[in-house]
Symmetry: C2
Subunit: 516 residues, 2 copies
């Protein structure tokens, strides 16, 4: 059996979803060296792409000098992938001419809706002398696209490999067999399989695919890849060795695996309950990955959002719009950072001395200290904040604030603690920024604008002064920085931090200078 | 389908292999509370056992007051397990009478060789009014036991459930089907399946088992369990929900999973390359778990040992016996702790001033500093030390020492760097201790005894003075302590540490007091 199919390792390409396509060069060299000793046929090194907005790393663009270096060190066929949605035939010359003779195969990531467009693109790539791989997403839904199966005949002679991609990680071996049967009845192209591991079925699905005639399999070291990740190269090779007698240099394989240990500890990819739910219900895992890795939303909040998506409830009810009757010239935004709890007694004194000042709680984390004050208080309920609020306020008897949510519809749904239901509103829009609208800070700042703020104090935006900071913390810090900058660009209201902060865009005004 | 089988969650019992059967009480309470809301039928809370040597935690003995407390909080049937090898019929009264009316089912972990003995034990348990579960290990090898299949008929009427345990984690769905067929042709007992996840096949094997008539399935939260772990409860439930319509309270499930997050980060159970190799080759994972979690041997060393086991080479050649011609009255053992490198220049001075002193390198870690001295030097090659030595001595031109290995046969095999091959010996025996013979310290101390030592200095045994220490470090520290104590009990040679140490059994004598 093992002679009948090929293996494509796409660790660098798919692992890039965690590292933003930057990898330490020594790691990549170790990877190449280890793979040289292993029965893997192709290595996919990342994307090629026109310049896109925002920072994306080396292996998203793969400049030819880098590919040339890898080519000189590798005895494998090298592969890059293009995103069909971003690339048209007229871009091919610019994208692919520099890597002719270096790269052996060009793959195309394809939405099944655009199979026709992908075929035109593939013809262009083929003419330039590359092998062509089709990576067609959402295999579990192909039968829902009306022309898809009929159009498969046009793939013959254009694609060298036609990959079925289990995008959601939810297919079972019987589904693999069924899809192979359907595809094979429409085209003679060689088939490939790219399995995701949400349900820990990547191995059995891949072996099943091969038994039913699939000729190329994707895998990655430690399964590194978007969301729950992929079939693990080391698992595939260990099983091919023990069950099918394929000879493996386990020292080389051990080196490849060990090289990625540190990244695994840092990013902790792999399946978990949210990915299992999204996988088994064919829900997209892009959002789930963001919720799990960046926003540290609780499993329960994520699960609730996923359940709602699944039931198409979307848990998204329209709430009354937030339309404050009177303006609040002075605002204090209290965020979740340490300074807000460390200086809580002084802040309490400050708001008592300024009872016309409105308090906006960007997070409920430090809110309980303020339960008895007379100032107007507004709570930002984003993500799982409603649940956190319920934990912070074990007793809502004292609660006299109001709650605001982002505009309808909300990705994470609408969760409002029952006891504050009548006092909860949604913003009509978040319009001072085009990014990160789904964050505490965006909601708090927009609320302040809606209130007609003329001066905004903030506390609890510390910018993670403790080092080392985690990558999650860095992401959130960068987000806040971008939001403060966008606010600064679109509004002439100044933001003052009451405690020294690492956000340099905030003006500093000592809390203690403002107390009587 | 979901009405046709039961689920037994054995997180506390099987997770105890990582925590030594101690779990924070709040965690256990959270677990019980979450399980109350989930469609799980039985909870296995751990072992019951006569007192065994060494420390084993609460859930290995399960005193009745604890089980009574859990019983009052749980709406599930509760289970404990006995190790057949440690329990005879005459122990049953003492072990089980105190938990009558609290525990619903008693399981027995059974080596297939002792099926007959287990049946007698089960009859006793049954008479006391408990449900009885058989957990029979090594299902992949049952056909190698001559009377096993024939004896299965005696299980009828004695066992309520007869579990097939995939001890190695190496069976595939087709093997599950085959074994079920064999067992069913010999007995009418209800079947169970306990799957290990080395090859990420626990889910598909369990679902396959159920489709072929198995009536109870084991799982654990996050798959927590010995070695690579088990079928994940959350994965089973997520799939039963999405594919078979079983109603699941995902908030409760999320709470159960989140409760074990910290333990997962601490112990990092789950599959990895060594477990994949042991699983797919039916090699016992007890040793692998020790190598991976306690001894931090490199993947490559472990893989090499496993490959050798698999090929029955065992990589175990007989080496010449270590029979020193002359005695060495004074010995210095240099271990891997920080003090040995921090005080290296003074130690170098000390050995130069005492050229008749023999140096024993318990680890090669700090050895390179001593490459030019004239003293006799002995290197202890245990586990992967031969490979470490090759890294430390990138040039063996200077090497004039000899190497010693533990007695034949060696679990981790025989790895000797090529250039020291003619200068390498094995000890005839390690006899001053009955435990931890497979360690650097045991080998070094035995070597010192073989040399006829009258006074032994040690350095680099610091006892992990930095806090917090990891559980790996604690295990090694405990081992060394036990070895020093065993040495102290069997020999009147004193051990002096040259630098202050946390091992209180070592006498202190300042390195600096011994220098001219």
């Amino acid at each position: 059996m093992v002679d009948m199919f090929k293996i494509l390792d796409c660790t660098i390409r798919d692992g890039g979803y965690y590292t933003n396509w930057d990898f330490n060069k020594a790691l990549v060299d170790q990877y190449i060296e280890s793979m040289n000793k292993l029965p893997v046929d192709y290595l996919e090194i990342g994307y090629r792409s026109k310049p896109l907005q925002g920072y994306l790393g080396k292996y998203f663009y793969n400049p030819s000098y880098e590919l040339l270096d890898l080519k000189s060190k590798s005895n494998k066929k090298l592969v890059v992938i293009l995103n069909e949605k971003d690339v048209r035939v007229e871009h091919l010359d610019e994208l692919l001419t520099p890597i002719k003779g270096i790269i052996d195969m060009v793959r195309i990531a394809i939405d099944p809706e655009h199979l026709g467009r992908a075929i035109s693109l593939a013809e262009g790539i083929k003419k330039m002398g590359f092998e062509v791989g089709f990576n067609v997403m959402y295999m579990s839904k192909w039968n829902q696209y009306s022309n898809f199966m009929g159009d498969l005949k046009f793939v013959d002679g254009v694609a060298d490999y036609f990959y079925m991609v289990d995008s959601y990680g939810g297919v079972f071996p019987k589904d693999v067999i069924e899809t192979i049967g359907l595809v094979k009845s429409n085209t003679a192209v060689k088939l490939g399989f790219h399995g995701h591991n949400n349900l820990e079925l990547a191995l059995i699905n891949s072996l099943t695919a091969v038994e039913h005639g699939v000729e190329i399999i994707d895998s990655t070291v430690w399964g590194m890849g978007r969301g729950a990740g992929n079939l693990k190269t080391e698992l595939l090779l260990a099983v091919l060795n023990s069950k099918y007698g394929l000879s493996i240099d386990f020292n080389a394989l051990g080196d490849a695996v060990s090289a990625f240990d540190d990244l695994l500890r840092k990013y902790e990819w792999g399946t978990n309950l949210p990915y299992m739910i999204s996988g088994s219900n064919s829900l997209p895992q892009k959002d789930v990955m963001d919720w799990v890795t960046t926003r540290f939303y609780s499993f329960n909040s994520i699960i609730r959002a996923l359940q709602n998506q699944k039931e198409k409830v979307k848990d998204n009810e329209r709430l009354p719009l937030f339309e404050p009757q009177s303006k609040s010239k002075q605002i204090l935004i209290i965020a979740g950072g340490k300074s807000a709890s460390e200086h809580a007694s002084a802040v309490l004194e400050f708001v008592k001395q300024n009872e016309d000042m409105t308090i906006i709680h960007a997070s409920s984390k430090n809110a309980y200290s303020y339960k008895d004050i007379k100032n107007e208080q507004i709570f930002c309920l984003i993500g799982n904040e409603g649940r956190r609020m319920e934990k912070v306020f074990d007793d809502f008897g004292h609660f006299n604030g109001i709650c605001v949510l982002p505009p309808y519809p909300r990705k994470m749904g609408t969760y409002v603690p029952e006891l504050v239901y009548g006092r909860t509103f949604e913003l009509p829009a978040i319009d001072f920024t085009s990014d990160f609208k789904d964050s505490h800070t965006a909601l708090a700042l927009q609320t302040a604008l809606t209130l007609g703020a003329e001066k905004i104090y903030v506390i609890g935006y510390d910018g993670y002064q403790d080092v080392p900071i985690s990558s999650k913390e860095r992401t959130l810090t960068n987000e806040n920085e971008a939001l403060f900058a966008a606010f600064h660009d679109t509004s002439d209201v100044e933001l003052y931090t009451l405690i020294s902060s690492n956000y340099s865009i905030l003006k500093e005004q000592s809390l203690y200078s403002l107390l009587d």
